[in-house]
Symmetry: C2
Subunit: 341 residues, 2 copies
């Protein structure tokens, strides 16, 4: 580890230089990266570039009481890479606008920078540019850039009546992890809480699965606002209705028991808990079974519903409609669930 990064002592240019030095070791293929007025990417022939921006704000998306610099940095990059995964794109690099208080604690900044470069290496996605500014609160805005073969990106608008709705992995774990943190479980917790807390603090984007879904999924997005809310985005973009079979939603081991201890409804959490960063996608009726798709894309896949004519999302249990008010989450509206968004 290099010397700790003290923003007050280093100043803006010192910080940028320290980041540039540490980022350099990652190695990458950009013509220019940190240090000039802009980063320069030489696109490969036949590839499109996918670009997405997501911001995390202190006190809104995270609190220092329930995370640390390393985990925060991981999540900042991961939530953006999840959007690339949902397009079927391979990460090429990212820009970071880092807004932090002039008196930011050096250990937080140091943890953040170490965590960012570790995540950058893990996902082969170099830091290529950005901005450092002072601010009353921490705010992290990333723009991630990925490449996808021309015309092959996974869009939200391709779902057709008759298609089947599929989900990678499991949902609700991140929302449960947040609820546990808010209930006072320490973020280094072990035991039964650990997988949920970890899922909330250090989510994994489904990058490989996303790329392998190209040519198979008719529509796709990542689960950031809850399965029900996100399914409604596919419905809206595709001009169709989506039915979700609540009983088929895969819940993590120990999930229902942990929910009950906190007085939470596991079905509600699984349907509307955000930030699981799984992929929600549709495939044609004649596409392979979920188990065969799972094998092809390298992660668990479950069939959780279907696409029909109409509008919006309906929730069924064993074929009968159920009603759960106000699912999902909207940044500027009251949120009935514990959430850090």
């Amino acid at each position: 580890m290099a010397k700790p990064l003290d923003p007050a002592a280093l100043g803006e240019f010192g910080l940028i230089e320290a980041l540039r030095r540490r980022a350099k070791s990652a190695g990458h293929s950009w013509a220019e990266a940190i240090g000039d007025d802009a980063a320069l990417l030489r696109p490969r022939v036949g590839q499109e570039l996918a670009m997405t921006a997501d911001a995390l704000v202190e006190g809104v998306h995270f609190r220092w009481e329930t995370t640390d610099g390393r985990a925060l940095a991981h999540k900042t990059l991961a939530v953006n890479l999840s959007d690339l995964a949902a397009m079927g794109a391979r990460p090429k690099g990212f820009l970071l606008s880092l807004a932090l208080p002039p008196i930011a604690l050096p250990q937080r900044l140091d943890g953040f920078v170490s965590g960012l470069l570790a995540a950058s290496k893990r996902y082969a996605c170099p830091l290529v540019g950005g901005d450092i500014v002072s601010s009353p609160a921490w705010m992290l805005s990333v723009t991630a850039v990925g490449e996808v073969p021309r015309g092959k990106a996974l869009l939200r608008r391709g779902a057709k009546p008759g298609d089947r709705l599929m989900l990678t992995g499991q949902v609700g774990g991140s929302a449960l992890g947040l609820a546990l943190l808010e209930a006072g479980v320490p973020h280094e917790a072990g035991g039964a809480a650990r997988p949920f807390v970890r899922r909330h603090l250090k989510p994994e984007p489904r990058l490989e699965a996303g790329q392998k879904l190209r040519g198979l999924a008719s529509a796709a997005l990542d689960v950031s606002d809850g399965v029900a809310q996100d399914a409604s985005q596919i419905a809206r973009a595709s001009g169709v209705a989506v039915q979700i079979d609540v009983a088929s939603l895969p819940q993590p081991r120990g999930f229902a028991a942990a929910c009950e201890r906190l007085g939470l409804d596991p079905d509600v959490l699984a349907l509307s808990g955000g930030e699981d960063f799984e992929l929600l996608f549709t495939v044609a009726a004649k596409a392979p079974a979920a188990s065969a798709i799972a094998k092809r894309i390298g992660c668990p896949v479950r069939e959780i519903g279907r696409v029909v004519r109409g509008k919006g999302v309906s929730l069924l249990r064993n074929g009968a409609p159920i009603d759960l008010q106000r699912l999902g989450f909207d940044h500027f509206k009251p949120n009935p669930l514990p959430s850090d968004k």
Copy 2:
């Protein structure tokens, strides 16, 4: 004008939809823009992509007492396009992370959105994606994307001993404008204050000049932190020293008089005032005279110094060295000048 945008009433998705509808009319060439997990750009053969990110924070980079939503939106985009100009790149589009209080005043948000789309149209740079989040304060982070023919980007590192240092337009006006605003001049001021206040609130990126400097400038950047500070970036990146002739710095009409009334030193302001967003560049000794370059790139150009062997920046007046302590500005260090950065 459409109905006012009230973040509390619209919610996140309503706001995104309103932006998407308004942005759509701009028209552009992206394969996908607002509405999917990421924007999709189909790069043109033989072009590189320049990407830059810059953030503005309420209370740090701007105060509502001295600006309004329209001007703020213009500046948010313009400071990013200035970085593209400094690379010789043509704007292709931008992503915006918009963090604002849930109770943001509708008229501010409305002004911001109108101003953003007006600036987007003016610079032929469509809004293609981003993120809207709630936050304790307004924070605006833009990533701008531009294209530049392969290998032709203007970099900071190409200056050689013997090269001449050139500047477009005039400097110090933006810092003076800010000083006037801080001294209580209203931001709609007319009269002698107007050009300076306007320059501070609604800077113009030198996009056309930047593109026309390709193949002529040996190094270039935009003046965001003050001529002296920015010249030191060329010196550092190129491994050379830069001499600036203070007497040759072009100052706007009425600049010295207005500085004196505020008790400011015009030379200090011209050398270290940030945010003029002019282009500072070097050309070979045998390149055309400043007047010929001005004609070629379509804006005023002045020769203000030269590149020599060595390190750092030195300031001369009529050939004799002068010393001005701590010029320029650094976000995390005390700043001797009025500045909004």
